[in-house]
């Protein structure tokens, strides 16, 4: 049925599966960079990011490097001591001298203890570095994601953002904690062993170094081939994950429409594709292991043969041969594992680039450099005045949503905005909440440009309640106090009572202390919206925006909200966007929008009495009530 998933060029499977929380049916423009996973990354951004992460920890990085150097030196000293024992200590003993033997014993003991202690110190030092880097990076991604404006979030789906902060950080973590020290260890040991071999015997050492050439070619070809195979595998598992999640999240329609068998077939196909790719990957690895082992074992055999030949003919000491044989086995030992590290290195590099791309995004709604204060509001002042001054709004990728317009909402006025889906109502509201900044013109709150207001000041002034009533994990009370963290329990209950949410909350097993995640499934959409309202009430803003905030309420619920607005919010400036015209009747003023323009503007009675769109809409709605 669907084969689109295969073509996706996503490096990790987690990207695609929780994308797609609807953003209003905007037709996908194929040249929009947000449709793909790849954000434009400035050249060298990954490296610059890496440098900025490591440079505050420069001293510790050096310390770790020195520890590793010493540790490898201690580890690689063993065979050298074996050679010394055979070539010097044995003859010395025969001469009755114990000095060399004691030196060997002490040396070996010292190296053993030192290598253990240095290993301990190195692991701890490098763990400190990698954990600090990860802490730093996680924090940067999180803060940056929070700072980026709502229009970014609407286009860069939540799934991708989450996978930046989780999967991508995870693959970096794997490299930093597991891969990197091994990789460095391997590299160092190769260098040390080669140098030691060269020191022991030019010929043997040179030959060993030469044997790296075929190994290098082998690793390079493996790297190239495995990248293809692994990418195919991760695409395949991504398809499996998407199918799986989709089925489990939609189990009701799956069962109600008897999709089980069709799904089995489809899933089976994707599963089988993953099975094949998985097998390919395993066999690719097998091929690499055989190849590298063959080269390594052949090199060992040839070198030992040559060494033995020279010992037999008297041009090489026996101890040197013994040490050489031991070193050679060590030299080629880590090559198997190298293949795996290369892989984790590659995926970490890809992740780092994606993260760098995210961090390179500048928030389109920046905080002011020199914030201006709002004029003080007298105790009984009716909210604040809102002015849209020559405002125009278009997406940065093109597409004008709101052509230039002027609008003044006097303090204390309740304004209803109606119009069909896509008419620009929500955009108007988001400009007022400063989720977007206008492309041209200014939005003024009591004469102050919203862009000049410090964020806390702005958020005390303007609060928006949206249709999606999201609850955070924690208790119901926690969710309500998001509006005002220092509120007392009495104030919380008062807000909930005012909105008509108190009864259902009190009926929950732990009342206001009920954990919403544990009972999440049983808190209905309408009840969530009531909690969102209580949150807004408690925040006590001077301007309140309701964006289809009553859509999931039944009529009594909606009435309760209206009553609350009439009493508690009296004297606030309010902008109400609603499908249901019942909300509109209580407004002081109605704006009818179509295609981004305000086409009708006036008190509801006058518009109803007129001949315009609102009159027609209102008539249709009255009829439906009977």
């Amino acid at each position: 049925m669907t084969t689109v998933e295969e073509e996706r060029e996503s490096a990790d499977g987690w990207d695609d599966w929780h994308d797609g929380d609807g953003d209003g049916g905007r037709a996908a423009a194929s040249d929009d960079p947000f449709d793909r996973d790849v954000l434009p990354v400035p050249k060298g951004a990954s490296l610059a990011l890496l440098r900025s992460l490591l440079s505050p920890r420069r001293r510790r990085v050096w310390l770790a490097a020195v520890l590793l150097l010493l540790q490898q030196a201690a580890v690689q000293a063993g065979p050298l001591l074996v050679a010394y024992a055979i070539d010097r200590a044995v003859p010395a003993l025969r001469d009755g001298r114990h000095g060399p033997l004691i030196a060997v014993g002490a040396g070996y003991l010292g190296c053993a203890l030192a290598s253990g202690a240095l290993q301990y110190a190195f692991i701890r030092a490098s763990a400190r570095i990698s954990q600090d880097v990860l802490l730093d990076l996680r924090g940067r991604i999180f803060r940056h994601a929070q700072a980026l404006s709502v229009d970014f979030h609407e286009r860069y789906t939540s799934g991708r953002l989450i996978s930046r902060a989780t999967t991508d950080v995870e693959s970096l973590r794997e490299l930093l904690t597991d891969g990197l020290e091994e990789l460095l260890g391997v590299a160092l040991s190769v260098v040390y062993i080669s140098l030691t071999l060269l020191y022991l015997d030019w010929g043997l050492g040179g030959a060993a170094v030469l044997s790296f050439w075929p190994l290098y070619l082998l690793i390079r070809s493996f790297q190239r081939r495995s990248m293809r195979v692994y990418r195919k595998r991760s695409t395949a598992i991504a398809a499996v994950i998407v199918s799986f999640t989709e089925t489990m999240n939609g189990i009701r329609p799956v069962q109600a429409f008897r999709r089980e068998r069709a799904n089995d077939a489809r899933f089976g196909e994707q599963n089988h594709r993953h099975e094949r790719a998985n097998g390919d990957a395993i066999l690719e690895m097998a091929r690499y292991v055989v190849g590298s082992r063959l080269v390594a074992n052949a090199a060992v055999a040839a070198l030992v043969l040559w060494g033995a030949y020279r010992v037999a003919s008297g041009s090489l000491a026996l101890g040197v041969l013994a040490a050489g044989a031991l070193y050679l086995r060590r030299l080629y030992d880590p090559i198997d594992r190298l293949g795996m590290f290369l892989n984790s290195y590659q995926s970490a590099a890809a992740s780092l680039e994606k993260i760098a791309g995210l961090l390179a995004q500048r928030p389109s709604v920046p905080e002011p450099v020199a914030p201006a204060p709002l004029p003080p509001r007298p105790a009984n002042a009716p909210g604040r005045e809102v002015v849209f001054d020559g405002v125009r709004f278009a997406y940065r990728t093109g597409g004008e949503v709101l052509p230039r317009f002027d609008l003044t909402l006097p303090a204390g006025q309740t304004v209803a905005v109606v119009g069909a889906t896509g008419a620009g109502k929500s955009t108007l509201a988001k400009l007022l909440a400063r989720f977007y900044d206008p492309s041209d013109g200014r939005v003024l709150l009591d004469g102050v440009d919203l862009r000049d207001l410090a964020l806390p000041e702005l958020r005390r002034g303007v609060v928006m309640v949206t249709q999606e009533a999201f609850l955070f994990s924690g208790t119901i009370a926690d969710n309500i106090t998001i509006g005002r963290p220092d509120a007392t329990r009495a104030e919380i209950e008062q807000a909930a009572k005012a909105i008509g949410a108190h009864d259902f909350i009190a009926a929950l097993p732990d009342g206001y202390d009920t954990d919403v995640r544990k009972r999440g499934g049983r808190i209905s959409a309408g009840q969530r919206q009531l909690v969102a309202f209580a949150r807004a009430l408690l925040a006590d803003p001077s301007v309140l925006i309701l964006d289809e905030a009553t859509s999931s309420l039944d009529i009594p619920g909606e009435r309760a909200v209206q009553r609350a607005m009439d009493t508690v919010l009296r004297g606030r400036t309010a902008v109400v966007i609603a499908h249901r015209l019942s909300t509109v009747e209580t407004a002081d003023r109605v704006l009818v929008m179509a295609d981004g323009r305000i086409v009708e503007d006036g008190p509801p009675d006058r518009l109803i009495a007129g001949e315009g769109r609102f009159a027609a809409l209102h008539q249709a709605w009255r009829d439906s009530l009977v």
């Binding site: 669907t2 695609d16 929380d21 609807g22 209003g24 049916g25 580890v75 055979i86 200590a89 033997l101 060997v104 014993g105 253990g116 202690a117 301990y120 701890r124 400190r128 996680r138 924090g139 999180f142 929070q146 700072a147 939540s158 989450i162 998407v242 799986f244 089925t247 009701r252 329609p253 069962q255 429409f257 799904n263 089995d264 599963n271 089988h272 998985n278 097998g279 066999l283 292991v289 082992r293 074992n297 055999a301 040839a302 030949y309 010992v311 003919s313 026996l318 013994a322 044989a325 958020r459 949206t466 955070f472 994990s473 963290p485 259902f504 999931s552 009594p556 439906s624 009530l625 009977v626």
Partner: protein, 610 residues
Amino acid sequence: MAVTTEPRAQEGGAAPRHRSATRSLLRLWPYVRPVRARLFGAAGVAVVASCLGLVIPLVLKWMVDGPVAHRNPGGVWLGGALLLALGTAEALLFGLRRWLVGRPLASVEASMRADLYRHLQRLPVSFHDRWASGQLLSRATTDLMLLRMFLAFPLTFLVVNGVTVLAGFAILLSQEWTLGLVLVVPAVPLVILCSLFERQYATVARTVQDQTGDLTTVVEEGVLGVRIVKGFGRHRSQARAFRALSEQVRSTELHKARLLATLWALIMTLPELAIGAALVLGTVRVADGDLSAGTLVAFISTALTLRWPVESLGFLLAMSQDAATATDRYFDVMDAEPATAADRLRAEPSRNPGQEHEGQGGMRFEGVEFAYADAPPEEPPVLNGIDLHIRPGETMALVGATGSGKTTLTALVPRLHEVTRGRITLDGRDITALTREELRALVAVAFEEPTLFSATAGENVLMGAADAGTEELLRALKVAQADFVHALPEGTDTEVGEQGLSLSGGQRQRLALARAVVGGPRFLVLDDPLSALDVHTEALVEAALRRVLASTTALVVAHRPSTVLLADRVALLSGGRIAAVGTHQRLLRESAEYRSLMSGQEAEEGESSP
């Protein structure tokens, strides 16, 4: 009997049952059985390959003590050839092992995953209500990969390394038992210490995983609730909460690193100490002439070869422990009884053929009770004695306050939930006497939350009826006012759902409605099908829907008067019962509760003439 397996599955099934790891792992046998020959073959090959590695030092010894000691350059050729042969054989055998198990184990993983998916699709909705899909997904992916890895490495290498270690020790002891003893003895504490540390390490690693999970939750909430965070200016406190959690992760990770550092220090030091002791002792004896230089070289070389097999035993055991946990997690889900299990029990007594006569047609609820299986026993059932008869061809609206159980009631008809007591009949036939397949072909549903699948818009609609064609598709789109589909980039062939174009709530709802009506189903259950539509579209959909409803028996959950007007009669759901049935006007007249639900007003304006 289906019920008994359910309690232990609650809260994501993390129920700690102390079953031995071996017994857990043995449950994998049915899946491993088909590939057993290759698996055992591969283990055998690996044992041989690993033991070949042990022969290499012996060849070395032979060369040193033989041709080299006798200054016989020609003699070393044989040794060299032998080394090359052994090395080649070892490499090829290790490759052979991987080749033998590679594809078979991928197929074991795939067939376990396919079984899990098939099983999950057939588990009742109540099961899915309890389990987060993420929990199920991690079983289908991470756990199964872990099991494949277990079969590929730890299982084989526990055997292989065990044999290698024993063989190696035998060689060491047989060559020179005193020296051998010096090397063998420290291995015992090493293995014990390693497995001890591994166990501690596993505990900390699990803590890190949990904490990372919490961190992920904060990230998800920060992203999904970004409008609220921004709207209330709470991003600083969110960032603080995130920082606190990630610092916690960091300190646990550092704890983990400390354990790891200790473990590695032990692994590095202990064997080296033993080898050092052996070296000193060996050197003395070579000097005394009791021991050949070749034997000493072979000794040290063998000891070095044995290091990895000895060290690995600890973490191989730890990995096996993880695999056992993964197996338990997998079978937690596989052991849940599929929905069909309840059929046979219930179907027999209620099957009464020939009982069908006039008055029994349509959809009938008789004393239907429903309580959630995990609800505390003292809580009253959600539905408590529903009696309702929807006549053939009639449309019944279901009205009730938020939380009164309307959606639950609709889920009982296609048996997404099972009634606890009482029965539901369709045209006189008990729904439990029908197979789910038959039942669900008879009843079409549209849910409050419209879900589209990753498929084309057309396919999404046609899911409603297996045999419907283009004509029916177009008609259904018209009824649901979903003609916007034709304006999509590729019309009805446009991909929608998670993988495709994202549609607005209203658009999705209209497609879901089209899906419900496409096949001209005999029974239709609609859960507030118009909630996300704007007033204008709603009126158009209602007009078209009216024609469809004229010929089907339908139950429509309604919040608004406009939706209620689609129905012939209205049932008021209150306190778990049907409190009143009648026309809209009659209920407006007679029921204060209905009046308040429909108009939000109290009982002031009693009359409302038709």
